[in-house]
């Protein structure tokens, strides 16, 4: 069990009626690694995240988190998992602390432990002074940082982030990348980061490219980019469609 990867996705398929959103997707996030999930809009990234987080049924294939199969041990699997969804999911009428305390309770963390953890995490994301403020008074980048703090509240070992920097300015984007990179480096967190922003990826990161529900390339970001001018260039070629300029 101790050898199991942080996340193992094996042969996962998902259909919406007749349309196949995912077909035979396999990937593995090793412990303590940062993996980038690249794909144009509509590639199936969010569907894959929904299957991993058990929002959708696992129709085909197998998902396991630290060796806990999602269909057999959903509680143990989900307890190890932290998620930052693409859409903003904070309660804007509640304060930062109320939002985080709510999430702590969803994971069965008692009040006192939650309070300490919230203080530590707000410190970590640099927003300790906004603890009592309503979420609606925060900027987009600050809300995102709070969402990252929230996803970490139960000390997950695997963090899933679905395009967490979309719609943010350059500085906020860099902040978020730096926070997550530090978590990988210092705390050994495993990360699956869906994106189509190439500046967020380092050559030594693991990466998979998802296109039309299938994985079309895998390796480190550096090897995927080999033979092309850049990773972005390689990506454009991989997802190019005849008669249409690629994303």
């Amino acid at each position: 069990m101790s050898e199991a990867p942080a996340l193992s996705v094996a042969g996962v398929g998902h259909r919406f009626g007749a349309r196949a959103a995912l077909a035979d997707v396999s990937l593995s996030v090793e412990r303590g690694r940062f993996m980038a999930l690249l794909g144009p809009n509509g590639a199936g990234k969010t569907t894959l995240f929904s299957v991993i987080t058990r929002l959708y049924n696992n129709q085909e294939g197998r998902v396991a988190i630290f060796g806990h199969a999602l269909d057999r041990e959903p509680s143990r699997a989900l307890a190890r998992l932290g998620v930052v969804f693409q859409a903003r999911t904070l309660d804007t009428d509640l304060t930062v602390e109320q939002n985080l305390a709510y999430h702590a309770s969803l994971h069965g963390i008692a009040r006192r432990a939650a309070r300490e953890r919230i203080a530590a995490l707000l410190d970590r994301v640099g927003l300790a002074d906004r603890r009592a403020d309503k979420v609606r008074t925060l900027s987009g980048g600050q809300s995102r940082r709070i969402e990252i703090a929230r996803s970490l509240i139960h000390r997950p070992s695997l963090l899933l982030l679905d395009e967490p920097t979309v719609g943010l300015d350059l500085e906020s984007r860099a902040d978020i990348v730096a926070i997550v990179r530090a978590l990988v480096r210092e705390e050994g967190l495993s990360v699956l980061w869906a994106t189509h922003i190439f500046e967020e990826i380092s050559p030594e990161d693991d990466a998979v490219v998802l296109h039309r529900g299938r994985i079309v390339a895998r390796g480190t970001a550096g090897t995927i980019g080999q033979g092309a001018e850049s990773l972005e260039d390689a990506f454009r070629r991989l997802v190019a469609e005849p008669g249409r300029k690629a994303a």
Partner: protein, 290 residues
């Protein structure tokens, strides 16, 4: 910036939080607290929930006071004024609206994504839905008693002990209406469709019941309508509360309320199950098919 595998990964700190019964109670408490916070943050929601039954009581019932006499029938031991008759029905009407309102907030949660956050909690989904239900019922019971407190000034004639005796009845009727709302929330895909729920669920349930008039009166005009009212679970919720307010127990009403609660809650659990759920078959929350 290098993030290659490092030794600390093997000794990542243990998951915080617990998956046992205590953990679940913490989870339940958190969900109820959030619902109450949201409720008290939306003062207009509280007042509109209060205004509706009070308008019925102060205006409608006063207007019909002389036209709609109510003859003696249990639990009343004497002739009662129309205002006295409608109070239990109006209190349960608050719960009906509240049940549908929490269902609406489930649909809203699904649209804005906070439902996803709830469903990624490691606890079994039926426990999460039950927590949602309990949270909604807490709000609805607070509202029902706030209404009874105001109505008390209007000679509602309820014995003091009745207020205590009715608490379990209010909890049961709140659970039933909340469970119906929970199930409906799984059927309604978008917030805009909710107006039809109002028209096709709330109004028929409310009017085809014993909330505003005793059923024998309806039977006088139509036998069919009478049986429709008898089959309406809302009728039984009203009767359960009405009897309890006068310190009496109505076993048939209780059985119907408990049975309906179990049936709709089970349906909701199935609907929210990722394996069999309606959400999954429909492709999940709107705009999320990428």
């Amino acid at each position: 910036m290098s993030t290659s595998a490092n030794p600390t990964a093997q000794r990542a700190p243990a998951h915080l939080g617990r998956l046992d019964a205590v953990g679940y109670l913490i989870c339940l408490g958190g969900i109820v607290r959030r619902e109450l916070l949201r409720f008290f943050n939306q003062k207009e929601r509280f007042f509109s929930a209060m205004v509706r039954p009070l308008v019925w009581l102060f205006i409608f019932a006063a207007g019909f006071r002389n036209t709609l006499g109510v003859s003696i029938e249990p639990p009343y031991q004497t002739y009662v004024l129309y205002e006295v008759y409608v109070v239990p029905g109006l209190a349960v009407m608050i719960q009906l609206f509240n049940g549908m309102q929490s269902s609406l907030s489930m649909v809203y949660d699904r649209e804005v994504g906070s439902m996803k956050v709830l469903l990624t909690s490691p606890y079994p989904r039926w426990l999460l839905l039950l927590a949602k239900l309990v949270a909604g019922v807490s709000v609805s019971v607070v509202q029902a008693y706030a209404f009874l407190a105001v109505a008390w000034f209007w000679e509602t004639d309820i014995p003091p002990l009745g207020y205590f005796a009715a608490l379990p009845a209010f909890l049961a009727s709140g659970l039933m209406l909340g469970a119906i709302g929970l199930f409906l929330s799984s059927l309604v895909r978008q917030l805009e469709n909710f107006a039809s729920v109002m028209n096709f669920v709330i109004f028929p349930m409310f009017f085809a019941s014993s909330a505003l008039y005793p059923l024998w009166r309806i039977r006088e005009s139509s036998e069919t309508l009478y049986w429709i009212c008898q089959c309406n679970p809302f009728t039984h919720a009203v009767q359960l509360v009405r009897f309890a307010l006068y310190g009496q127990f109505e076993p048939v009403a209780c059985a119907v309320v408990v049975g309906t609660t179990l049936a709709f809650f089970s349906l909701a659990v199935v609907a929210y199950d990722p394996g069999r759920g309606i959400m999954a078959r429909r492709g999940g929350p709107a705009g999320d098919n990428a």
